[in-house]
Symmetry: C2
DNA sequence: GTCTATAACGAGATAGAC
DNA sequence: GTCTATCTCGTTATAGAC
């Protein structure tokens, strides 16, 4: 019975993986808005109703793809962080930024799914939050390590932002100065601005040597969060 | 006959405008990927074949919407620049940034159309380039004015980036230092990272007082391009 | 119990004949 | 410009295989 259960569980895992794999293929070809359970089933030689044993609705399938994408990106970032554990803070920062960019370039459609336009009629549930937070936590970890080690450069903070900065710090990293967390959130958004512009074509005919440009830009970002 | 011709031209303009208006409504409801000439025609009480007298294809309609969106955003930015002609460079910079954010918040679907995920199967033609460039030219203008007036702060440039920086400067603004243009292009992308994160929901449960946060962040961006 | 297959619903898009 | 026949879709109910 334990082997039968094991076999069933294994089969279930494999089918689930095959469904997501095919769904990702469709994501690339038609976009998230047109992702269709029927098409996925057809391509897999299944009947559409059979898919409901694995995903209770189309939206749940989308959610699974979104979580997978966030996790895949988060893992890439964590690998880069861990591989540079002994390096200087700025070097770790840029290494993670480059890992993010590298992941985006190799997974453009999954990147568009999580950081591009919202899918009409779909609202991401709270279950996506932990996976979505992983990249951010990697950056927080680097800044925290720098803070406890060589220290952070002093940063200024606009007068009206104190309350909000304290709130964000309490939420995200109580052990860090509020100005650092504020700067970090801004840098986080700005990093994805650089990646999105490259990926979505805004750098066409503008930036040619994108790798060098990116490294220069994110080194600047590292400085704005107080790393050195 | 000249009155008849004038009336015809006017009618054509009006129908064209009505088509685009309805198309924008669909953009909001279903997203760019599902924009269909048929649905637009139906909603307007026309027959789909009649639409082809105004737009030769769905892609051309999309292109028109994209150009309109870029122009609308560009105008908002230009208005903010002109309204602050006598202000300090940093104040002008933040005013234009806030105009960009304000436009995005009031036109979220058009923003997603031009700065969100690419539409599958659609490639923007070169005709969109001039409209797309308008916002960028506004920022270049502000930096140029500052350079000719109170001057720019000195900026560093990564060693390997000299060639690319010179190329970009020659392309975009030969009268500005190459480091300034490089920093400006980065800041431009980073600005849209801030706006996209707010608009696409990444700031949910993270940034609460978004207006204050945004102003703080773009003031920081102004400094990274050498304004003061 | 776990899965797949058949059939059907209501809604929307599409193609072509007229 | 209209009408109709035929597709697609998400989703459910049901029946039967393993």
């Amino acid at each position: 019975m334990s082997t039968a259960q094991g076999a069933r569980a294994r089969a279930r895992k494999e089918v689930t993986a095959a469904i997501k794999e095919e769904a990702r293929r469709q994501l690339a070809k038609e976009g998230a808005a047109k992702l269709s359970l029927r098409a996925v089933a057809r391509e897999l030689g299944m009947v559409s109703s059979a898919l409901y044993r694995y995903f209770p609705s189309r939206d749940e399938l989308l959610t699974a793809l979104i979580i997978d994408a966030y996790d895949s990106l988060g893992e890439a970032a964590e690998r880069a962080r861990d591989a540079t554990a002994d390096a200087a803070p700025v070097a770790r920062w840029t290494a993670v930024c480059e890992a993010v960019r590298g992941w985006a370039l190799t997974h453009p459609h999954e990147y568009a799914l999580i950081y591009g336009s919202p899918v009409p009629g779909y609202a991401a549930p709270q279950t996506t939050v932990p996976a979505a937070a992983r990249v951010g936590l990697v950056f927080i970890g680097i800044v925290r390590d720098a803070h406890e080690g060589s220290g952070l450069a002093g940063l200024s903070l606009a007068a009206g932002l104190h309350a909000e900065a304290e709130r964000m710090a309490a939420d995200l990293a109580p052990e860090l100065p509020a100005e650092a967390i504020t700067a970090l959130v801004a840098a986080w958004a700005q990093l994805f601005g650089l990646v999105s512009f490259e990926l979505f074509g805004q750098f066409n005919k503008v930036v040619e040597d994108r790798e060098t440009f990116f490294r220069h830009a994110v080194t600047g970002l590292a400085r704005t969060v107080g790393l050195r």
